[in-house]
């Protein structure tokens, strides 16, 4: 077999691929993602656009009714369900404590900076390395350092302690933003959770549900991850823990219809908040991203409205996180970021790029495995915990 032939074959691949891609794109509007499973539409009130009518059979599970009774057998010890709410508030973990390990790898650079008498080029280089190690990425790192140089000149800073203070201030101002989770004027409020596989969407929903329940809000959880094996079971365990109602469909059923039904169910019983889970998906799979856009649209069709679309992001994510955020934002109008798994050695620096390039604020952070470990993001605390010796 010679190279000539192989190269030609390869060329054919490209050309065919290009042609198909072109035709596929050209026809996207029409061929779209409609699938005709032919399942009967169970809803009394079909949404406005028939093409997007949710379909598929959906079970409505209420704790204590059809659902397996949350008897003592399913009591899960690690869930702090029995703890009084007052304690919840007190055990809020501190960023400083939970980011200890993350800080460790940066502190060497920072001590080295501080050990110098004056601000030199090395100071900047060391800061650059520290930021890069924190996954801040080249672009935002340069921006931060450029801002820093500017400040040093303008404010005539001379010591490296001042330099570090200025850096912290820069970083804080980049990340500052409201962490409020918006409620819709008419209930139910719908919060949608999106993200790539394995970032902790289902767990985050469980924890948010717990928080809401502790605040006295009623919650419906929509098991919109109909793809991953046992995702609904995982969510159900969480629903049991916080006394939420769960609405789930059959494995492989249309996620839009599950979530639509959850919204309807919530509306009919006056539930405050619907937490909608979605299957993890890579942002590069355009068909799955189209599906997600549809989920977003359909969720808005019934009563109430989607007020938050939260992108769940794993703190260990590197530079690819920005690509993720960009694609998810495009598909679903993401309103904020939930940064999970910040209790390890990862620093989550990619949120700087996401904030400065896409303007998406971090709203919640996961500082541990317990429900109470999911807390409001605090830019000041975060930066102080990360950038210190």
């Amino acid at each position: 077999m010679n190279t000539l032939y192989l190269l030609l074959v390869i060329l054919a691949v490209v050309v065919v691929g290009g042609a198909v891609a072109f035709v596929a794109l050209g026809g996207r509007g029409r061929s779209g993602i409609e699938d005709s499973s032919g399942a009967p539409v169970l809803l009394e009130e079909p949404p406005a656009e028939p093409a997007e009518a949710p379909e598929g059979d959906v079970d409505l599970l209420e704790p204590g009714l059809e659902a397996p009774a949350p008897g003592p057998a399913v009591e899960v010890p690690e869930a702090p369900v029995v703890e009084p709410e007052v304690v919840e508030a007190e055990v809020r973990p501190s960023f400083r404590e939970r980011l200890a390990k993350a800080r460790a790898s940066m502190s060497g650079y920072l001590s080295s900076v501080l050990s110098r008498k004056e601000i030199t080029e090395e100071s900047y280089e060391e800061l650059e390395e520290a930021l890069l190690l924190a996954d801040v990425g080249m672009g935002p790192t340069q921006e931060l350092l450029d801002g820093l140089r500017e400040k040093v000149r303008a404010e005539k800073l001379t010591t490296n302690a001042e330099l570090l203070d200025a850096l912290r201030a820069e970083m804080k101002s980049t990340l500052e933003g409201s962490t409020d989770l918006a409620r819709s004027p008419e209930s139910p409020t719908i919060w949608l959770f999106v993200g790539v596989n394995g970032v902790g969407k289902t767990t985050t929903i469980g924890k948010v549900g717990k928080r809401l329940a502790d605040d006295g809000a009623s919650v419906v959880m929509a098991a919109g991850d109909t793809f991953r094996a046992a995702a609904a079971e995982q969510l159900e365990t969480w629903a049991d823990r916080c006394g939420a109602t769960i609405v789930r469909g059959a494995e492989g059923s249309d996620p839009s219809s599950v979530i639509f039904d959850a919204v309807e169910a919530a509306a009919s019983r006056g539930t405050d908040v619907v937490l909608a889970d979605t299957a993890g998906r890579l942002h590069t799979k355009s068909n799955l991203m189209d599906e997600l856009s549809k989920v977003r649209r359909v969720a808005d069709k019934g009563a109430g409205s989607v007020t938050e679309v939260l992108l769940v992001l794993d703190a260990t994510t590197g530079q690819n996180g920005l690509a993720q955020a960009r694609q998810f934002a495009e598909a679903t109008d993401v309103t904020g970021v939930v940064l999970t798994k910040l209790d390890g050695s990862a620093k989550g620096g990619i949120v700087f790029a996401i904030r400065s390039e896409l303007g998406l604020p971090v709203k919640l952070v996961g500082l541990g495995e317990k429900a109470a470990d999911l807390v409001d993001f605090d830019a000041d605390e975060f930066v102080d915990a990360l950038v210190s010796t």
């Binding site: 190269l7 691929g17 394995g198 355009s286 260990t316």
Partner: protein, 489 residues
Amino acid sequence: MFESLSDRFEGIFSRLRGKGHLTAADVDDVLREIRLALLEADVNLAVVKSMLGRIRERAVGEDLSKALNPALQVKKIVLEELTETLGGETLRISYASKPPTVVLMAGLQGSGKTTNSAKLARWFRAQGRNPILVGTDLQRPAAVQQLRTLAEQVGVPVYSAPDDVVASGEGDPVEVARAARAEARAQGRDVLICDTAGRLAIDAEMMDQVRRISAELQPDYTFLVVDAMTGQDAVGVAESFNETLSLDGVILTKLDGDARGGAALSVKEVVGKPIAFASTGEKVEDFDLFHPDRLAGRILGEGDLATLIEKAEQAFEAEEAEAAAQRMLEGTFTLDDFLEQMQSIKKMGPLSGLMGMMPGVPKEVRDVEIEDHHIARIEGIIHSMTREERVQPDIIDGSRRSRIARGSGTSSSDVSQLVAQFRQMRQMMQEMGRTPKRKKKGRKGRKSGGRVTPKGAGKPKASSFQLPTREEMEAQLPDALKGPGSPGL
């Protein structure tokens, strides 16, 4: 979003064109771009530094100024360095003389341990083995359930604690591991794959638990499951797991996204353990042994020609393809040939995956998810043509077009699009045959921005991408494939 290294180089080297030699400052420029490319690919900073040192040495030593194409020369050096770093042979599993061969899966939460345990079980089955899966993740809700569902898909039994114990959350993973070995023997299973709970490397208690599971099982292979999207932290994580468990290799997951996977390179360099397997999709069969040398091109954003060629060799009948290739060059390629090629290409795997391996394909085109039904539509259109039309698409006029459209359930604009595409493709092929040494002239369009579609431009034009040059493709060909005296184009 990412620029490939060649894109970056193009800028630098076009500035240098016409200069007699590269100055030290020029080399620094080049190195800075390489540094940026590696960092954006999430290669660990320490690894970047040591690699840059080696690359600088070679770049200076090889006197780039004399190179015919300095950009290509540098790229070759970088690729070689990366390949060397990733290095080593593809892992060969040797089975325990006294079965079962035990495999332990470890990793952070959400890296894909459970899914990949099942995928690995499927892989072992395909090797003619009889695996059993063991679920010791008694912590995450429904983790065992997930393993059971996946195991059912791949037809492998699961051993875990009884359901009520799993539900209670009080089961002892070490106990499960102990009983599992006996169970494997009793069932005559010769490979035991143990899924574990995800854990943070800094969680002493959990790390101790996995250490005890490992002590109990005495695994023949311990794999760390690493997400291809992991950033700088990958190295630290791998180091901690290696200290606790003494890893044998890495399973790299979520490679089907657009993450460059620099983390894997770093892990290899720092911990010295090879990437044994890679998972490239959501389906259980999207999983195979990893070819370390092939990640190099990806990290630089250069595609993966070697894999593509290997797949092509499997999918195409050599003689038929050569005949088709001849016709392509002569410009007598017909829509029938096209149809046939498409069938063979389908055998090579998802088209979008293939496109990603092709160097020089712009991201916009690469990212288009090409579904089977898209291909089916094209096939439908061609099938609705008469023989004559397939040989001579030029005769397709308005009425023929609407007949074809009706026949294939498409619109006549779809038909004319396809015909236009085909015509363009045939012409490209023919040009390749006619001008064997396509040089600078043919590449002009590219520099003026043919490949770079502005942000948010939406649909890429299929015509906006250029075929890679022969030089570019050959630079990536493994030596074995080049063969002596292989004819140029």
